[in-house]
């Protein structure tokens, strides 16, 4: 088989049963992988700046918490009614822990948390509250906006669908 013939075969393959089977298998794999295991998503919003930028593209790796639970400082995706729109947040506390914001600093169980990922000035104040059983406390990295404009709080572990790939 000449090189020219191979190139032509690559771009204009003959529709043999073997080729059609291969196409079907690739399509099935892509549907399962990108539709259920590694879902591509586009970041819309600035609540995770500067770690994740508005307009950035990433993948939600759904296998991440299949056999483990989200840990503190993990960035997770939180589902709403389904998987088409999800929230991207960071876990700052786990069940049973007490969360509090004092002058923009985060305290968990009374101890100030080191948060190298928070780069912008913050002046939030939030009275202490305990994280309920089977819940995690999630907050965005960008806390420069007023506290009432930032979507954060306790999310049920059942709503944690995965983690961004990078």
């Amino acid at each position: 088989m000449t090189v020219r013939h191979r190139i032509r075969q690559f771009f204009f393959p003959s529709f043999t049963p073997k080729f059609l089977l291969r196409v079907c298998l690739v399509a099935l794999f892509a549907y399962i992988f990108f539709g259920h295991l590694c879902i591509p998503f586009r970041i819309q919003g600035i609540s995770m700046e500067p770690t994740y930028h508005n307009g950035g593209v990433n993948f939600c790796w759904r296998v991440q918490y299949l056999f483990s639970e989200p840990k503190k400082h993990d960035v997770v995706t939180v589902r709403l009614a389904g998987n088409r729109v999800m929230l991207l947040k960071r876990v700052v506390a786990r069940e049973g822990e007490q969360v509090e914001f004092r002058d923009g600093r985060l305290f968990v169980d009374g101890k100030e948390m080191e948060e190298p990922y928070v780069r912008y000035a913050c002046d939030w104040n939030l009275p202490p509250r305990q994280v309920e059983k089977d819940y995690v406390y999630v907050v965005g990295d960008n806390r420069s906006m007023p506290i009432e404009n930032h979507l954060f709080g306790q999310a049920s572990e059942k709503r944690i669908t995965g983690a961004p790939l990078w």
Binding site: Q44, G45, V78, L80, A81, G82, N83, R84, V85, L87, L126, R129, E132, Y135, V138, L151, F152, G153, Q154, A155, R159
Partner: protein
Amino acid sequence: MVKIRYLLIGVLIVILGIVIVVTLFPSEEKRVKKQFHLLSEWVSKSPEENAFTMLQRMKNIGTLFDANCELKVPDQSLSGSYTREEISTYAGSARSHVSQLDLKFYDFDIAFPEIGVAKVTLTARLTGKSTAGEQMDETRELECRLRKIEKKWLFSQIEMVEVLKK
């Protein structure tokens, strides 16, 4: 050869019949979804919208709701029961404060717990720009109840689901 031709014509007629039936007699799920699409269309606003279109849309929004619709919003004074007229007025007032508005619904989960009642869980995303130039971006999970009255599905309850509890 003639038999194959008749078979093909038969298959085509069956497909055409299915398409006609699906188009002319949509399922209850499709009818419910249509109400959301209409709500999305009439709530959304483009910067070029004229006064006549605005009035028409305000009037139309009211027709999607039951005589009394209950709104349940956590931690906000908006909760309560509203008449169609009140909803139209509030929608008009809210739309007048924005120059651009886009309401979209995702991840529909439709169930019919009893005859004439539909329970819909979905994600709603509202983006836009206020007349002062401020950007808006709100994403919430909603649980809606619609009642079938005179062959029309009408919103009778809208509840905002608290995904992140502060």
